[in-house]
Symmetry: C2
């Protein structure tokens, strides 16, 4: 292992100490700017270090201190796929996390740990050197996470707050989001609202329940034929929409459980000669940046990833620091754009 910037530069603290005519400990303290060391000696050593381009071996330091200043981010990949990050929402959240982490002086390790395969029972995953982990999305591993939380607490999760949950989460108000989206469509006069997505994940399930609530409140029928479940494939949203179309079930609007699905749904409708919003209205979820620039621009439920990323990091560092942290539900609102408005 070479530290970045090092070729065979082997300058270590002992060397520096020799050059400065002091001991290792003095150098160590001086480099930490410790008050213990005479200001002159301190500056002398610091200058010397800079001059000779000395760099602290962080690996040794971290080992000694038993800390790493790195946080691992794990993305529960769907079954077989690795890093199934086709969905920009996760990416944008990742970006926000990354920024917050940097601000707090931590690095971010994107680990290949597969949370499905890894044996979490009892002790949680191994292999990684980090101070804590952030899990993005509960996918279908809520139970495993709960198990893991029994023995490992330096963990926060992006997702829904669930009954009997033992880990700390940050996430949007998915039930509300589902209601807002559906209510909006109902207000626009749509009555046959199809819903496309995978309601097997906790977040999506809540969105679906919000949809049901809104329909029930409006006295509208909940037709199971209008629920189209996507798989984890790249073009799932497209295929699902095609299935909906070929099923012959009448519908006048689609509530897509993510913007990625919404875009592909619009595309599939287009391929069938149906235009949005003229023939079918569409509402998405997440408010990823592209929704604004899509044609038509997409009505969607906003999730604040900046805030989300910041909170995830804050809570995790607090936990690591020995403090308590409670789960947060972020404010959630609807952003109305063109895809759901009949002119």
């Amino acid at each position: 292992m070479k530290e970045i910037g090092e070729k065979k530069a082997v300058l270590k603290m002992a060397d520096l100490a020799k050059m400065a005519g002091v001991s290792k400990s003095t150098v160590s303290r001086a480099l930490q700017n410790s008050e213990l060391i005479n200001i002159e000696t301190r500056e002398m050593i610091q200058r010397l270090a800079k001059l000779h381009n000395y760099r602290l071996n962080t690996q040794a330091r971290n080992f000694r201190l038993k800390e790493s200043l790195t946080i691992a981010v794990l993305i529960p990949s769907a079954e077989n796929a690795k890093w199934q990050i086709s969905d920009s929402f996760f990416i944008e959240l990742l970006g926000a996390i990354s920024v917050s982490l940097m601000e707090r002086g931590h690095d971010m390790l994107l680990s290949g740990l597969n949370l499905h395969q890894e044996d979490l029972s009892g002790m949680g995953p191994s292999k990684i050197n980090c101070d804590g982990i952030i899990v993005i999305g509960q996918a279908d591993i809520h139970e495993r996470l709960n198990l893991m939380a029994q023995t490992y607490d330096s963990m926060v999760v992006w997702g829904a707050q669930l009954d009997g949950q033992r880990y700390c989460t940050v996430g949007g108000d998915n039930l509300l989001g589902g209601r807002l989206a559906t209510q909006h469509l109902i207000e626009q006069g749509f009555k046959r609202i199809a819903i496309i997505g995978d309601h097997h994940t906790p977040e999506a399930l809540l969105r679906y329940q919000g949809y049901e609530q809104a329909l029930a409140e409006a006295g509208l029928e909940i037709d199971p034929a209008l629920l189209i479940v996507t798989d984890g494939q790249r073009d799932a949203g497209y295929q699902a929409t095609l299935r909906l179309l070929s099923s012959g079930v009448p519908f006048d609007a689609i509530f897509a459980l993510s913007d990625a699905i919404a875009m592909k749904a619009i595309n599939a409708l287009d391929a069938h000669g149906l235009s949005v919003p003229e023939n079918v209205a569409v509402v998405g979820y997440d408010d990823i940046s592209l929704t604004r620039y899509y044609t038509p621009s997409i009505t969607t439920v906003h999730q604040d990833r900046e805030l989300g990323g910041r909170l995830l990091v804050e809570k995790l560092l607090n936990i690591i620091d020995g403090q308590a942290a409670t789960s947060s539900v972020l404010p959630t609102n609807l952003v109305v754009r063109n895809s759901s408005i009949r002119h």
Copy 2:
């Protein structure tokens, strides 16, 4: 620092050795499945380790071995912005890198190191513990990278191959890509082809030069007014297109230097009542996955990120391994979709 899965589980190799009635070295070897150790002792120890849920302290191991099995990925952020990854191409490339890295047993560290600020002269960045680094995009730091390469060789870069370059790159054939895109538009009968993007980065500059070549070959005029330079903002593509429109300069097609720009350009045109491809043809660059699902689907220059990611990782690990590695230019081709075809 706690290892993932550990609470206060302090089981270390010495403990295991005591329990097994052997020495630390035997345990160490057994856990590495070394042939040196009697198969029975070996299995006994392995069973014991599993039973007591022992996990190797990787930090100590890595420290001892002077390796980290992690590769840092650095993304030269534009000037002030951090992790300015609005562009999905980089994300998709990141995904490909991540997968290759995992397959090779390495983790991926997304570092907050700012390559602009970091003093690369002489020694390169410090602070990170990794076996090597992958830089995604040369942005405007070619010179710094070159400097850095003098003293640090465990580095590969996604980008263009440049004169006098001392580091190893993997990237598409940007000159060809620019030509292909432009030639295609010319073949479709367009003559006033605007070009939108930031040609201050090496890759984009080559694409621009390809554009010039194609125009020259076709005997078409190169009008500077048709070159609209974007800044690093999120909506740069949108704003740039607006500027083009309000400039009054006549144009019948746009060559966008990235798909992200292309999408926003289409959106801006749309906002002005111009539709694509009927009124204006658009060609993008990168072939990000969404181009296929955009409305209209976008003609674009394909860059193979799977292959790119794989090669980056392969070359870097080779270099770390002491072998030589040469730069690669990936095959580059045009994917024709609807945004550039008049029906």
